[in-house]
């Protein structure tokens, strides 16, 4: 493992203390949005790393929901409140499910992959919506988490959760950044461009897709737990394909160029949504759709490409940077 950090990772590490600082300076409602978008931002990251391989997951909400519900069920049925155990349960659930489903989905690409992931997520939606023990469409509540025996209350509890959330989210982002620059990360880009050639170069495209799928699932499940805990609630909407569509939207908008982009994009989306829904609730989706269309037509590599357009032609940092797309 190399110890040198690239620009993005340094940026992310600097962001961590800044985010914590934010909790003290900015008004509570902004901090809440930052907190919430850490969770959903991770799911968008999950979509993004798969998009690098040319795969659009229209059902990433599946693992978002699996994470939240796994943690929730541990709390509800086994009385567990420890944050780390809840997080671990989300990860384990996602790992097992994605490892299994991955065997089926890794064989598909393009439209089929997109729509099959959608279908699978809706299977869970149907399951949860009709399971009374889990609250059906209402879902159920989660308790305030404890931390290795200590149960803080009030503001301390919120701060503790917020700090851990930020740290874990940043950690995941850095890990994923490394993933994108690892051999599999490049194989993914190659798969997107020409899968046949990948096989001819000597590696299994299916395996790379499977691994990426599992990784994205785990990250999304972590996002689900981190999102559900401050909210104190989970419901089947987490896995509705309309929710998944929003993660896709963020990925398109922010592009696949940089790990930080989907997280920033998620935060902006959350803030804009609040205002848009307040001003005109019946045009929010129209705005989303239009922005998406405009992005696809005029900025196919997402908004982040606006920042990197110049650096690509300069070639200053060598091939390394441009393949990773910083």
């Amino acid at each position: 493992m190399t110890k040198t950090l690239d620009r993005t990772e340094i940026g992310l590490l600097i962001a961590l203390p800044l985010l914590i600082l934010v909790a003290f300076i900015l008004p509570k409602w902004i901090v809440n949005y930052v907190h919430v978008s850490m969770g959903t931002g991770l799911v968008a990251l999950g979509v993004m790393i798969q998009m690098r391989a040319g795969l659009v997951s229209f059902g990433q909400g599946l693992y978002f929901c699996v994470g939240g519900y796994a943690a929730g069920m541990m709390a509800k049925f086994l009385g567990v409140t420890d944050f780390f155990v809840l997080l671990a349960s989300g990860i384990v659930a996602a790992l097992i499910l994605s490892a299994l489903l991955g065997f089926l989905l890794r064989r598909y690409r393009e439209i089929f992959f997109a729509m099959l992931t959608l279908a699978v997520s809706m299977i869970l939606f149907g399951l949860l919506s009709s399971t009374e023990e889990l609250g059906s469409t209402d879902g159920f509540n989660l308790p305030t988490p404890s931390y290795l025996g200590w149960t803080p209350e009030g503001d301390t509890a919120q701060f503790m959760l917020y700090t851990l959330t930020c740290a874990i989210a940043i950690g995941c982002a850095i890990a994923l950044n490394r993933f994108l620059k690892s051999p599999i990360g490049y194989v993914n880009e190659a798969i997107r461009e020409n899968e046949l050639r990948v096989e001819y170069l000597g590696t299994s495209a299916h395996q790379a897709v499977h691994i990426t799928y599992v990784l994205a699932a785990i990250v999304s499940a972590v996002g689900g737990v981190l999102w559900a805990l401050p909210l104190g609630h989970v419901d089947p909407e987490m896995t509705n394909w309309t929710t998944s569509g929003q993660f896709v939207f963020v990925s398109i908008l922010s592009g696949t160029g940089n790990i930080a982009a989907p997280m920033i994009g998620t935060f902006i989306l959350e803030i804009v949504r609040v205002y848009a829904v307040e001003i005109s609730p019946n045009t929010w989706q129209m705005i989303l759709g239009s922005v998406m269309l405009l992005t696809i037509i005029f900025l196919p590599k997402g908004l982040w490409s606006l920042l990197t357009r110049k650096t690509r032609t300069k070639k200053s940092a060598g091939a390394n940077a441009s393949v990773a797309g910083e």
């Binding site: 461009e193 170069l201 691994i211 390394n320």
Partner: protein, 263 residues
């Protein structure tokens, strides 16, 4: 000379059509073989079968004594057989150097490693060296989709050599390249490949090139092998003259007429 590849009665059937029948070929280490035959004669089908893209409907392929019939392409590549393509199969939106870097990364990485960076200065150096060997290093930072066919072909072939194959199939390496450049291209290629003592089998429509670069020639016709032996003999063979070269001659003549018509 040790035989490294041997096919026995290879056959490829699509429905009722034989794309290839009774293909028996042996290739020795370091050999250079030219393959001729008109379009649809089964040359690419043969390469597709040996490299695992197609599974033959009957027959065996063995490499260094072990059977590779029906093995996956990626496994065959790892064993030491690589190929280039008639239509270059590259990563179009990436640059030339990026294409090669990916090829190098994959060939060096046997197990999936998740969090270790794939590309470092050393690898970049190797990539540039490889491009220099094929005389295309000056295109390193250009996107594939902006480049002319000749350069794409070379990138395609360069990538095929990354896995250091013992046997390399080149599918029409000079097609799409202008007549004057063909010879130069082949010279660059064969020189680059001689340094690694790779056995080369190249599919070619230009008889001059076949004569100039391959001591042995195999002629395909309608899915079967018409002749297989020293190039001079094969090109003199009556049947080959009638069914293969005759058609080549007509093709070249037609191209000449077309050129005259356009000017």
């Amino acid at each position: 000379m040790t035989t490294i590849l041997e096919t026995k009665n290879l056959e490829m059937k699509f429905g009722a059509v034989y794309a290839a029948k009774d293909i028996n070929i042996s290739i020795a280490a370091g050999e250079v073989v030219g393959v001729i035959g008109s379009n649809g004669a089964g040359k690419t089908t043969f390469v597709n079968m040996v490299t695992g893209y197609l599974t033959p409907t009957s027959g065996q392929i063995s490499y260094r004594g072990k059977s590779i019939t029906g093995k996956a392409t990626r496994d065959i590549t790892r064993l030491g057989i690589c190929r280039s393509f008639q239509i270059p199969q590259l990563f179009p939106e990436l640059t030339v150097i990026e294409n090669v870097l990916i090829a190098l990364t994959i060939s060096k990485q046997h197990k999936p490693v998740l969090f270790k960076p794939a590309i470092d200065r050393a690898l970049e150096g190797e990539a540039h060296d490889l491009l220099a060997r094929f005389d295309i290093d000056r295109y390193a930072d250009q996107e594939i989709q902006t480049l002319p066919q000749g350069v794409r072909k070379l990138v395609d072939i360069a990538m095929a050599t990354v896995a250091e194959p013992e046997l390399l199939f080149l599918d029409e390496p000079t097609s799409g390249v202008s007549a004057d450049e063909k010879m130069d291209l082949m010279r660059i290629l064969i020189d680059a490949l001689k340094t690694t003592d790779t056995a080369v089998l190249f599919i070619e429509h230009d008889m001059e090139i076949v004569e100039a670069f391959s001591p042995r020639c195999v002629a395909f016709y309608e899915g079967t092998i018409l002749a297989d032996g020293p190039t001079a003999d094969v090109l003199e063979n009556d049947k080959v003259r009638e069914f293969v070269i005759g058609s080549e001659f007509h093709r070249e003549a037609a191209q000449e007429t077309a050129k005259e018509g356009a000017s």
